[in-house]
């Protein structure tokens, strides 16, 4: 096989794996948007907050220690214990469900029937609040997250492809794990929404609020549920990105990667988010590989947005959305 083609295959593979993660982040947006018409600007900060909380719990950090020390003149920082990753992830999930409940109770419930732009503004406020709250709770220094995920180049794949094709593929173990977990999570989400009572209720709410109420569905319950799921998705994304490049503010920017995915896939389509993520993942890697060298590289920074822009112009309803024709 020609060398260029082998390179391209490797690039595609890496792109697919990055794409699955984009899909996962985009799904967090889609769920909330479908169920409540809210574009949740805070999704990225939720991932950061989840990762911060996870690290904090694992390392036995005392939450709000700065505040406590400032007020009481104490010097507490650590409980002096270490919580196993599995338990810490569970506890973090409890915190995220609590967050979902609080958002619903203290913010969204008071904004029922408001314009989408108002709800959007509310989530911007929420994002900044959560960012500050996370800092206050866990401190703002960069943290290392190690939940025991394998890192480094996968030697088995390197060996096998080298023997088979004469060229060893460089695939990162962490990427493989992230991909597998993302695939499992996406599958679970789809099964949940298709085959459980809560999933059916969620689809009902997404389709028509009035009708959902009339068959006995509590909108508040569903909203806490979708925000909890979004919190879970944020946690998984936070773990993956955090393990790769540490837990710091830039982690919250992964949400920006989900935007072009949403424009491609449509804001309300679960399959759209999945396929959109894959297209962007593969697209940006291949584009960088083929066109990058001609234009001096760094195309990954803008490729996804330009692609999304083209979609906005030529197919604004996204890949799977139905064409909207205004009735006059």
């Amino acid at each position: 096989m020609p060398e260029q083609l082998l390179f391209a295959m490797e690039v595609t593979l890496n792109g697919l794996m990055a794409g699955v993660m984009y899909s996962l982040v985009a799904l967090g947006f889609v769920l909330i948007f479908k169920a409540s018409g809210i574009f949740n600007y805070a999704q990225g900060v939720m991932a950061l907050f989840a990762a911060l909380t996870l690290v904090g719990i694992m390392d036995g950090q005392v939450p709000f220690s700065h505040l406590i020390n400032a007020i009481f003149g104490t010097e507490v920082h650590n409980f002096g214990w270490h919580v196993p990753a599995f338990l810490a992830i569970l506890l973090t999930m409890v915190v995220m469900v609590g967050f979902a409940w609080a958002v619903n109770r203290f913010v969204l419930r008071h904004l029922v029937n408001q314009e989408p732009i108002i709800l959007f503004m509310a989530t911007i406020g929420l994002a900044y609040f959560l960012e500050g709250f996370g800092d206050l709770m866990w401190g703002s220094d960069i943290k290392k997250l190690d939940v025991g995920l394998p890192q480094g180049i996968n030697t088995a794949i390197d060996d096998v492809t080298f023997n088979l094709l004469g060229y060893g593929f460089f695939i990162d173990n962490l990427d493989i794990v992230a991909t597998v977990i993302a695939i499992i999570l996406v599958t679970l989400l789809v099964l949940f929404s298709q085959y459980t009572k809560q999933g059916r209720a969620l689809r009902a709410v997404a389709d028509d609020h009035q009708a959902a109420l009339s068959v006995g569905i509590s909108l508040n319950m569903i909203w806490v549920l979708v925000w909890s799921i979004a919190g879970f998705v944020a946690l998984v994304a936070g773990i993956m990105w955090g393990a790769k490049s540490g837990v710091q503010f830039s982690l919250s920017l992964i949400a920006l990667k989900a935007l072009p995915v949403l424009m491609l896939g449509g804001f309300t389509s679960i399959p759209g988010a999945i396929v959109g993520g894959l297209i962007i993942g593969v697209g940006e890697k291949l584009f960088e590989f083929i066109v990058g060298p001609m234009v001096g590289g760094a195309t990954e920074n803008w490729f996804a947005y330009v692609l999304a822009l083209l979609f906005l112009v030529f197919r604004p309803q996204g890949l799977f959305g139905e064409k909207i024709i205004e009735r006059v």
Partner: protein, 273 residues
């Protein structure tokens, strides 16, 4: 209707009507300056087909929305099964066994007819998430039972041929029927229908009338329905409440109500002072 005692009456066609299931006492509902309902009282009896009629804007839908918890009256009391009902959210009312349809149809347009009907069973499902995930025990029994009930209602309302069709693609008349199926499958104690025949052609209206009578007859379901058209109501209902400009201007069996001068005036559009 012969005597209106507390334990019911016998209809002219020999059906037994029971005690009071739902009672509205001195209900007043305002929207800003608009008084949609003005101090109205009436009751709905077990097993009865109760109609609310009146010209457009009379406050009929508002009354149905009060019963189903979508609107909350400023004054008055709602009694269900003899007990005063605290202000409730619509989903809580639904869980009490009050199902409804809407004047402007509220269906899940992205779902198939069968899925729409299945949502009517959501309140009847109690299995935990884990059991559902493993499709085990209670979850399996519930889902099977719900499916059987849904199919039975679908057969009953003669919509088998469109079971798998996305509801959004159906013509208006069939949508109305699907909405009725979704309400019916919940096996409600009280079924509220807001203009079930509006916008239908003659044939569809006849079908719908037959279904409403059959539902009441076969399942003994208590039905409160809103109609615009006097003629339809007269054949269908046991007792009629007539509303005009938010006020109750008549209440009784169809013949009596039809002879009522206020009602005649309202329908002939006599000027209000």
């Amino acid at each position: 209707m012969l005597d209106d005692t507390s334990d019911g009456y016998i209809t002219t066609d020999g059906r037994r009507i029971g005690g009071v299931l739902m009672e509205m006492r001195n209900i007043t509902l305002r929207f800003g300056g608009v008084v949609a309902i003005k101090d109205i009282s009436f009751d709905i009896r077990e097993g009865e087909i109760r109609a609310i009629i009146g010209p457009n804007g009379a406050g009929k839908s508002s009354m149905l929305n009060v019963i189903s918890g979508f609107y909350h009256p400023q004054e008055g009391e709602v009694l269900f099964e003899g007990k005063p009902r605290p202000p409730m959210k619509p989903y809580q009312v639904a869980r009490q066994g009050i199902a409804r349809t809407f004047q402007n149809i509220a269906l899940f347009n992205g779902m198939s007819v069968l899925d729409n009907v299945m949502t009517g069973r959501l309140t009847k499902m109690n299995a935990g998430l884990l059991a559902q995930g493993l499709w085990y025990g209670k979850a399996e029994r519930e889902e099977t039972e719900n499916r059987i009930k849904a199919e039975r209602v679908i057969d009953f309302l003669e919509i088998q041929h469109i079971r798998k069709t996305p509801v959004g693609r159906l013509p208006y008349g069939l949508k109305k029927r699907v909405e009725l199926a979704r309400a019916l499958v919940a096996e409600p104690r009280l079924l509220l229908l807001d203009e079930p025949m509006a916008g239908m052609n003659v044939e569809e209206k006849e079908d719908m009338s037959r279904f409403i009578l059959d539902v009441n007859d076969e399942f003994g379901t208590t039905i409160a329905l809103i109609e615009h058209d006097m003629g339809v109501v007269m054949d269908l209902s046991d007792r009629v409440v007539v509303m005009d400009y938010g006020k109750k201007i008549g209440d009784g069996p169809p013949d009596e109500v039809r002879a009522n001068q206020d009602v005649i005036d309202a329908y002939l559009g006599v000027a209000h002072d």
